[in-house]
């Protein structure tokens, strides 16, 4: 997969922290953050996920001039039934060598890991796909590694 350049910015960190309901000043107040053990603004632990903003081809963001599979005049903007009820997130594991700060310019590379299948009573055949993502900083040092597992279900997960 192509490498993505992910510039880490203070306003983006602030918006992300708001979305996860975390009012810790270390994520939005530079003066207060300076007094903490972090020594300045850092990003919340799950912020690396926002790399999706910087992937030009990210498939879960509507793009001008392209059909979007969400609803508009009709329940879906594309014809036909989707191949599955969509991929769900099964696992997510971070390893941090250091935490991200505004001004970091990350280079992010993802490669596919293992693929395996399992039968489930609640959703039929499950296909699990592992992805390994490495985040390197402007010095080329590995700062964060992510192991993520997505699962595609045969049918929507039964809520019973």
């Amino acid at each position: 997969m192509a490498k993505i350049t992910f510039p880490v910015e203070a306003s983006h960190i602030m918006m992300f922290a708001r979305a996860i309901g975390d009012t810790n000043p270390v994520y939005h107040d530079a003066a207060a953050a300076k007094q903490t053990e972090a020594g300045g603004i850092i990003a919340p632990p799950t912020f690396p996920q926002a790399v999706a903003q910087f992937d030009p081809d990210y498939h879960l963001r509507p793009k001008p001039g392209q059909k979007w599979f969400g609803s508009a005049k009709t329940p879906s903007g594309i014809e036909g039934k989707p191949a599955s009820s969509g991929s769900l997130h099964a696992e997510h594991h971070y390893e941090y060598h250091r935490h991200l700060r505004p001004g970091d310019i990350l280079t992010v590379e993802t490669h596919q890991g293992e693929v395996w299948e399992k039968e489930s009573k609640r959703a039929g055949k499950l296909t699990f796909r592992e992805r390994i993502t490495e985040y390197r900083d402007q010095a080329g040092d590995l700062v964060i590694t992510v192991r993520s597992v997505g699962v595609t279900t045969e049918r929507p997960v039964d809520q019973g």
Partner: protein, 140 residues
């Protein structure tokens, strides 16, 4: 403040209510911040009529983000070395989530002290929606 190994014991816990009556708008807010606009999280019409779910539901990563607050409130800022989870049940609009971190080990490796935590996030029915572990650097 960083935790001190000398002040911790196995079984110590920290619990917080991380969201009460989760709104669809907060899920959309997370979509905007993270960049993941999947209609399963942002589009009730698509999700009920095409995907076949009873309503939109939260990103797993929103639940992980909400739970991260309990972990960092406990271990301090910028001290996490590992944070990993499994998503076990979906989180729906209207859910109230409580997250608990429990100390499972206090250890030393090459002169650095660490705490290992077990994490569990449950909804208002006591159903676990996410389980995981975290490790952080701590003071002696």
């Amino acid at each position: 403040m960083a935790l001190k190994a000398s002040a911790l014991k196995i079984g110590d816990t920290r619990k917080e209510r991380v969201v009460e009556n989760l709104s669809r708008t907060q899920i959309v807010q997370y979509a905007g911040a993270s960049g993941d606009y999947n209609p399963l999280h942002t589009d009730e019409v698509y999700t009920t009529k095409v995907a076949g779910y009873p309503s939109t539901f939260a990103h797993g990563m929103l639940t992980m983000g909400l739970t991260g607050k309990v972990v960092t409130d406990y271990v301090g800022d910028g001290t996490l070395t590992k944070f990993g989870v499994r998503f076990t049940n979906q989180v729906w609009p209207g859910d109230t989530l409580d997250a608990t971190a429990t100390v499972t080990a206090i250890r030393e490796d090459s002169g650095q002290h660490y705490v290992d935590l077990a994490l569990s996030t449950v909804n208002q029915d006591g159903k676990e929606v996410m389980a995981g572990t975290a490790t952080a650097r701590i003071d002696p």
